[in-house]
């Protein structure tokens, strides 16, 4: 079983790396990655399959449910980003975004290895903990993908405003597709983030003493919630779209990334078990 988890991990790393390289070459080279570019999404799919295989086998080995551990939560969020991307790639013409998605999946798969596989949260509330982690993981994945769409929007918008129309602009997804994708992902992720914050508050109430890292993480989670809520409300009320919405989304995603970083650099925090 241990060998199986290791093989799945390495195969996942190889497939994600190859996919990221092909997506990246296709994006930055004038002539693209040629016929090999066709394989990029397939390799991403293979990477995701291996990634899932690794998570399942590693969680069985460690007797830790994937949604009860920060290690698996990080890994799973990137896996969900990948699956979401593969599902909407063709319909929303997001091929170029694959360069980011594959890189993020690779980073999270490898990065999660530096976070210990321990069950997080206070004991005795495993159901709530699973719901808390699941909603946060999915919400985080949705926000990450929204942030990628926002970043691509800013690049494409800048090129078009500056009239730098070239082979590069032709490779980027259409502005409206990026804006729409970003909005839909935020809409889908917001209720999950809200649920995650509420359940997080329940856990916080059970803790006798919170560390500075935990306080910072909670503060950032609230900030993310307010930023995302602001972006959604301003879009609905004042028609904030495009560049403004992209900046707001990216700000929210930066907060999410800092939270993730805090987990990576201080993995013991929050491990109540």
């Amino acid at each position: 079983m241990h060998d199986l988890a290791t093989i799945a991990f390495y195969l996942g790393v190889i497939a994600y790396s190859a996919s990221a390289t092909l997506f990246f070459l296709d994006l930055v080279r004038r002539e693209g990655a040629g016929a090999a570019a066709r394989w990029a999404p397939y390799l991403l799919g293979v990477g995701a399959a291996m990634h899932a295989g690794h998570v399942v086998t590693a969680s069985l080995l460690s007797h830790v449910c994937p949604v009860e551990s920060v290690h698996f939560a990080l890994s799973l969020s990137a896996w969900i980003v990948t699956i979401l991307y593969l599902l909407v790639r063709r319909r929303l013409r997001l091929h170029a975004v694959g360069a980011f998605v594959a890189s993020v999946a690779l980073t999270f798969l490898v990065g999660a290895q530096f976070v210990g596989i321990t069950r997080a949260g206070p004991g005795g509330q495993r159901g709530l903990l699973a719901a808390h982690v699941t909603s946060n993981v999915i919400g985080m994945a949705l926000f990450l993908l929204a942030g990628m769409a926002g970043a691509f929007y800013l690049v494409q918008e800048r090129q078009l405003k500056a009239k730098r129309v070239s082979w590069f602009t032709a490779k980027l997804p259409p502005l409206d597709a990026l804006d729409r994708t970003e909005h839909r992902l935020l809409l889908a992720g917001f209720p999950l983030l809200t649920f995650g914050i509420v359940t997080g508050a329940v856990f916080a109430a059970h803790m006798q003493q919170a560390s500075a890292g935990e306080i910072l993480r909670a503060a950032l989670a609230y900030t993310t919630w307010f930023v995302v809520a602001g972006v959604l409300i301003l879009r609905a009320v004042a028609g904030w779209r495009g560049r403004r919405a992209a900046y707001g989304t990216i700000a929210g995603v930066v907060c999410v990334l800092i939270v993730i970083l805090l987990y990576v650099i201080h993995p013991a925090v929050g491990a109540g078990a």
Binding site: R30, E31, G32, G34, A35, R93, Q156, L160, K161, K163, V165, S166, W167, T169, A170, L172, P173, P174, L175, D176, A177, R235, A238, G239, W240, R241, G242, R243, R244
Partner: protein, 465 residues
């Protein structure tokens, strides 16, 4: 080998090209006329507004006829159909013809470098020729390879990237902003050939066209020619709220769409992107509009810069494309050289097969009489496998030498002579010594020694039993 005879925008002015403009339904008849000539065996006709070319081959496939005579007869056929072409037709023979065909299919000889239509036209011409029954071994090899070369050029270079006319750049930009044009609204202010073309192209993509103007008659006229819905000038603000793309092309001396007008509709537009295509000189849209969020403004100068950039980039890519064409032409010629070794290989193989079959038959009638059908089959299979293994190296060596030095080179002659002498093939296979003609009957596959080794002959045992 093939010949190409024809004329194009590079060699003949339009009044000459008009003489041989052929409707599609006439092409099969023309092809039949061409192959009716004594030396012409195959023909395909590529007819576009910029070129009319016949790709032809001799009666016996690759090298069955004098290519010069084939070219003369094709020229005669064309001149017969369109007197006045004399002196305007070019001829490309052999390797030159192959390279020309590959360049044409790859759009390197097109009026607009890198345009994508020519590949479809070459494919269409090939299909028409196939249906007319004028395609044989030579064209069956050369044309698919030309199509493959063109695909390589398109996938490995950026020769087809970007647009080279103002209307197509406008449509591309609209798609870059909005993605799908279906359900989008295009507002056309003013008239002009270019503006109308852009509106038609956007309308063709599924957009709704709203035409706004001061002159009611002109608006009605435009509505008829472009399609869409006419609006009064008083509705300009309301129409601007609905619009996604605004095309302006009026002769007004001042701005028709000013900054304040666009700013005033922003709230009602709820932040939707707005793309202005200003084709007028003097300009119709206030340049300050560009500073507004989600608003994109391109004037005629901006479009011209994009077009110039694309053309220069395509020119740069053409050098890389030429290298691919050269590589493919050389590859094709190498393959031809190798293909011409087929009769020798066939003869060598048949020689061994005959010996093996005879020995096998003798044994099966003698000491091995007691063997049943299953054992017979096993013996046959064993002999065939042994033969394949024995001939693998000599076959590969013959092909390599032919590819490296050419079929008429001294090393190849020496090898063929050695095979003749060592295995006494000369008497058995006189066709060996007339290589070029013989290739027509032993049509080779693309280089794949294994396929050829096992696929050329029936099992040894069928003769032996």
């Amino acid at each position: 080998m093939i010949v190409v005879v024809g004329l194009s925008h590079r060699t003949a002015p339009i009044n000459v090209r008009e003489l041989i403009a052929l409707p599609r339904d006439v092409v099969p008849a023309v092809l039949s006329e061409i192959v009716a000539h004594p030396d012409v065996g195959e023909a395909m006709l590529v007819s576009t507004c910029n070129r009319v070319e016949v790709v032809a081959a001799g009666k016996h496939g690759f090298d069955g006829a004098d290519l010069g005579r084939v070219a003369v007869q094709v020229s005669q056929a064309l001149v017969q159909r369109a007197p006045g072409l004399e002196g305007n037709l070019y001829q490309r023979l052999g390797g030159e013809g192959v390279r020309h065909l590959f360049r044409v299919a790859s759009s390197l000889d097109s009026l607009v470098l890198g345009e994508p239509q020519i590949l479809g036209q070459v494919k269409g011409a090939f299909e028409t020729a196939r249906q007319a029954g004028t395609v044989g071994s030579a064209l069956n090899r050369a044309v698919p390879r030309a199509i493959r070369t063109a695909k390589r050029v398109r996938s490995e270079t950026a020769i087809g990237m970007g647009q080279v006319s103002v209307p197509s750049v406008s449509v591309d930009l609209a798609k870059q902003i909005f993605g799908d044009l279906k359900g989008r609204t295009v507002m056309l202010i003013g008239s002009g050939e270019m503006a109308e073309t852009v509106a038609r192209l956007l309308g063709g993509g599924g957009a709704r066209i709203l035409i706004v103007g001061r002159n009611k008659l002109r608006v009605a006229e435009l509505t008829r020619s472009v399609g869409g819905e006419g609006r009064q000038w008083e509705d300009v603000k309301a129409t601007l709220v609905e619009a996604d793309v605004v095309i302006t092309s009026t002769s007004a001396p001042t701005y028709v769409v000013d900054h304040d007008l666009v700013k005033s509709v922003r709230k009602q537009r709820r932040g939707r992107s707005l793309f202005f295509i200003d084709l007028a000189v003097p300009r119709d849209v206030d340049p300050r509009v560009e500073s507004l969020a989600n608003t994109f403004l391109y004037n005629i100068d901006d479009f011209s810069k994009v077009v110039a950039g694309t053309l220069s980039s395509r020119q740069h890519e053409a050098e890389r494309a030429e290298r691919i064409v050269l590589e493919e032409t050389q590859g094709y010629q190498r393959w031809r050289e190798v293909a011409q070794m087929t009769p020798t290989i066939v003869a060598l193989r048949e020689h061994f097969q005959r010996i093996l079959a005879a020995e096998l038959e003798r044994s099966l009638k003698g000491r091995l009489k007691h063997l049943g059908p299953e054992e017979h089959q096993a013996l046959n299979k064993m002999c065939e496998a042994a033969l394949n293994k024995m001939l693998h190296h000599p076959t590969a060596r013959l092909r390599e030498t032919a590819a490296e030095y050419g079929v008429e080179s001294r090393p190849v002659e020496q090898l063929v002579a050695a095979i003749d002498e060592l295995f006494v093939l000369e008497g058995e296979h006189p066709e060996l010594h007339a290589l070029p003609d013989a290739t027509a009957s032993a049509e080779p596959a693309e280089p794949d020694p294994e396929v050829e080794l096992s696929g050329t002959h029936a099992a040894i045992g069928t003769r032996g039993r």
